[in-house]
Symmetry: C2
Amino acid sequence: MNASIEPVEGKQRDRAKTHEAILSAAKDVLAAEGFQGFGINSIARRAGCDKQLIYRYFGGLEGLTEAIGADLATWISDAASAPAGQPATYAEWVETLLASYMAALRHNALVQKIAAWEISEASPLVAQLSKARSMALGRWIAKQRGDLLPPTTIDAPATNAILIAAAQHLILASTTLGGFSGLALANEADWQRAELALATIIRKVYAV
Amino acid sequence: MNASIEPVEGKQRDRAKTHEAILSAAKDVLAAEGFQGFGINSIARRAGCDKQLIYRYFGGLEGLTEAIGADLATWISDAASAPAGQPATYAEWVETLLASYMAALRHNALVQKIAAWEISEASPLVAQLSKARSMALGRWIAKQRGDLLPPTTIDAPATNAILIAAAQHLILASTTLGGFSGLALANEADWQRAELALATIIRKVYAV
DNA sequence: ATTATTTATCACCAGTCGGTGACATTGGCA
DNA sequence: TGCCAATGTCACCGACTGGTGATAAATAAT
């Protein structure tokens, strides 16, 4: 019961610590090397433990992926900064929401790799992460939502899906290609240009 | 010299045929299994020949990828239907161009997998294909271009990159996730909804 | 008919992968 | 003390990967 006896607790015989080390290593591997390097051996190497422990504590890659998914439940709530003020129009709301989403995704390599995984392969592994990611996103949007309504002449769900898809694709392309379709996306000025164009689209399409 | 002696020419000792079989198998593997299954062994299996011949005739995966890139030079010109009529406005031009691009990409699994590869990994292999793909796209757009100019108040390159990114992402997501961000993309009606929303965006953002 | 060259096949290498069973070590409990 | 469960380590398995050298078979040139 008394767990405060160990003097140094260096790195031996601590299941909780090993558990955490494995989970952290798994996220690191996925964020750094992408889903291609997401394997038992690679994760065990980075965690500095035997791969057998991954099977024991998580039940292999599946259970480990599940744990990552659970860990992902609040990724955007934690990353996105609080809204500065109440938006006055639906267009303003979409604009700030999309900007927050882009900022959060741009600084989260793990979620970027998951997003890339989603559109590259349809495996049960990525399905878990995909579900966790979209649910976290849905909760976050619902929480931010006020009583603003889009113009009834516009298919808002489809339009917003297009905007999110564009933002996501630009971010993913920027890390591997450095840009997309002639639009450079390397420095902050490039991103401001892209976000300005997005904001212009939003304002024009949701103009009242 | 005389190469018309062989009576049946079944499947033996024909370098040109083997060459073509390998190239075709490589494209098939990439289109069917994605860049994950794009390997020497898998391609040789599908081509029905020894993998040694891939090294001999193409110089390994690199040369083979280069050959695929060269083969890709006209993918969109071949796929996209000729423009029905001359567009009257810049918005119309962008609208028909984007619709053609989406139709061509939706029915070309190979290019889809290459696009997914581009945003998943930054390897020299995919760089070749990426270059070939974007150059083919650029040539096609330049050929379609008339003397129409966008409104000077709009950042047209950035806006168009956003539109293409959205279209591309929706198409890639549809094949693996069946939709994106709550927008189903399974049947033709779903796609018409998405294209209508895209067309609305284009008309509003490029309105004169 | 006898060489040469091209075309294709085979056997093998070292390395990695996911996965598993046996073993060693430690700490707590009776 | 002895026991037992928890924790960690090691060795191994079969299968696959990219890559290469040697060899066989068929065609072309002499």
